[in-house]
């Protein structure tokens, strides 16, 4: 590993501005790591030439003392973001050969600020999964392994390529998306920071849609400061997304220095679920102590509808996905399997193009939206969603942020849960509530399991209060002093 890839995004940015390093050197170092890191299967499409060109252009600007907030910073892009003229797969066979003629707003914002694209990162097919095993392009492998074991573990999902690439230093930071935990759970599994912003903070335009009322883009990064910097560029109003919020983007990085003296932190008692491993419970307790020591006050709060969040999610998300994925018809883009007539062509194309989990969710969604069942399932779920959001609103009348574990376990082995959809869904038990209520959440690495795997703590904030969220996350990060790194077995 070269010294250049040891720099955080903030440190690299400062070194670039001071002309101590060039973007071409930095980008070159990452391209080398990517070439050596093929065993992780993190990238589905490396964009080597594009990266070199963009780095060169950034160097020209930096040389003149110009350039944006991310000038010359090499990033990986989750393959759910459309990138102009660069193959975009969403991890699905059905988008075979698709090269978008347009750029997603979030990635356009990053390029506007000078970032360099290293390539497109693997993810669960259409972001449906919690382990990155549903990708048509094969599973991503977690850079972390259990002590004394060479069993291949999952990097979490659906943003598994993003989390693995950041953890293994195959990029300086990555874009990701989160519909039920897809930024935060992979971050927890890989010792990285994952930030899911408030619904509407980042534009969804040009991001391949899964469940439109839940999807939100955010960064996966080395540390809290890097996540704050990336969000500052990704966020912003966009006329092309009617759910994008028209309010100024604060200086998130500046919020970090403000400390948390007097901050009120809530501990939701319903998150103390049965069967939670003791080491996760202990980590949570340590987190509480860290925040108290930094000057926060801590109190127990109640979110009584927590246990209904996952069942609600598994009605709402499949319903929206069945509607969004209706567009894959073999006519306008991607795969086409010929049939005797147009209906048979649709049916064959979608049968061959969608993987098992996507098919299951489309069928589930079609069922809950079908005549006679809409009220019993979808309408009921949307009502329970209101109750879940109300629980949070009540808690936030008493406290400023909530602290919970990010996931109920550390990373598990590839194949361990892929035969049982329900046990896979339970991974998102602590994260999914946040999407249903539209709130911001962040996962911060806070310790190692007995087996030597990273564990994360989650903070949940008020709507559009990412600044307080980041302040609290920074306090956890400072106290945890998480410096562990995976051994670079993949380069052997």
């Amino acid at each position: 590993m070269s010294d250049l890839t040891k720099l955080t995004l903030a440190a690299a940015r400062d070194a670039l501005k001071k002309k101590e390093i060039t973007s071409s050197e930095l980008t070159g170092a990452y391209l080398k790591e990517m070439a050596d890191g093929g065993a992780l299967n993190a990238y589905v499409t490396p964009t080597v030439e594009k990266a070199e060109e963009m780095a060169k252009a950034s160097d020209a600007k930096l040389q003149k003392g110009e350039g944006g907030a991310l000038e010359g910073i090499p990033l990986g892009i989750k393959d759910l973001f459309c990138t102009k003229d660069v193959r975009t797969t969403a991890g699905s066979h059905i988008l075979e050969g698709f090269e978008p003629p347009y750029e997603s707003t979030v990635t356009a914002n990053l390029w506007r600020d000078g970032a360099v694209m290293l390539g497109k990162l693997n993810n669960d097919e259409f972001a449906m999964g919690s382990s990155n095993e549903t990708s048509f392009y094969g599973p991503v492998v977690n850079p972390w392994r259990r002590k004394g074991s060479d069993a291949r573990l999952v990097p979490g999902g659906s943003s598994g390529g993003s989390s693995a690439a950041v953890a293994a230093r195959l990029c300086l930071g990555a874009t990701a998306t989160d519909t039920g935990g897809s930024i935060r759970q992979p971050a927890a599994f890989t010792g990285t920071v994952g930030l899911k912003p408030t619904y509407g903070r980042c534009s969804r335009w040009g991001i391949v849609a899964f469940a439109s009322s839940l999807d939100q883009a955010g960064p996966i990064a080395r540390d809290v400061r890097d996540a704050a910097i990336l969000l500052g560029s990704m966020a912003g109003h966009d006329e092309k997304d009617t759910t994008s919020v028209d309010r100024p983007v604060p200086d998130y990085e500046a919020a970090l220095g403000q400390g948390i003296k007097g901050l009120s932190v809530g501990i939701p008692k319903e998150y103390r679920v049965e069967g939670m491993p003791k080491e996760i419970d202990d980590l949570w307790t340590r987190g509480i102590e860290w925040l108290k020591a930094a000057g926060a006050t801590v109190k127990e709060v109640s979110l009584p509808h927590t246990k209904y969040a996952l069942p609600t999610y598994y009605i709402v998300a499949p319903a929206e996905c069945s509607s969004n994925l209706a567009r894959y018809d073999g006519v306008r883009y991607g795969l086409r399997v010929e049939g005797r007539d147009v209906t048979e062509m649709y049916e064959k194309t979608r049968a061959e193009g969608f993987g098992a989990e996507v098919r299951r969710r489309v069928l589930m969604g079609t069922y809950v939206l079908s005549a006679g069942y809409y009220d019993a399932y979808y309408l009921k779920a949307q009502k329970v969603r209101t109750l879940i959001a109300r629980d949070f609103a009540e808690a936030f009348s008493e406290v400023d942020v909530l602290l919970t574990p990010t996931a109920p376990s550390a990373a598990f082995a590839i194949g361990a849960k892929s035969d049982d959809p329900l046990s896979m869904y339970l991974n998102d038990v602590f994260t999914v509530t946040v999407n249903l209520a539209g709130l911001p959440g962040i996962s911060v690495p806070a310790g190692l399991s007995a087996e030597g795997l990273p564990l994360g703590l989650q903070l949940i904030g008020r709507t559009f209060d990412e600044e307080t969220l980041l302040r609290a996350a920074y306090a956890i990060e400072q106290a945890a002093g998480f410096t562990a790194e995976p051994e670079a077995w993949w380069r052997a």
């Binding site: 090269e99 759910t243 028209d246 979608r350 069928l363 069922y367 069942y373 009502k383 539209g438």
Partner: protein
Amino acid sequence: MSVDQKTVRHIARLARIAVRDDELEALARELNGILDWVEQLGEVDATDVEPMTSAVAMAMKMREDVVTGTNLQREVTRNAPGAEDGFYVVPKVVE
């Protein structure tokens, strides 16, 4: 509520996904597993609760009713598996 193989065939038809006969049983079992589990929402009394329609309270934005993009035929059809003269090509739908 539980789904039988006939129902799976029906929803697969609605979803335009071809399903082989030997897949029906497994699909019915998987869907029933998920449906049994979401059944617990029945415990929640949500009689007078408004369904959530927007994740964040926000007024719907309107834009000027003007043309913003023109002559995009080439871009629009360039990813099509079948396109001729700027049109999509599909199997014959009208006899």
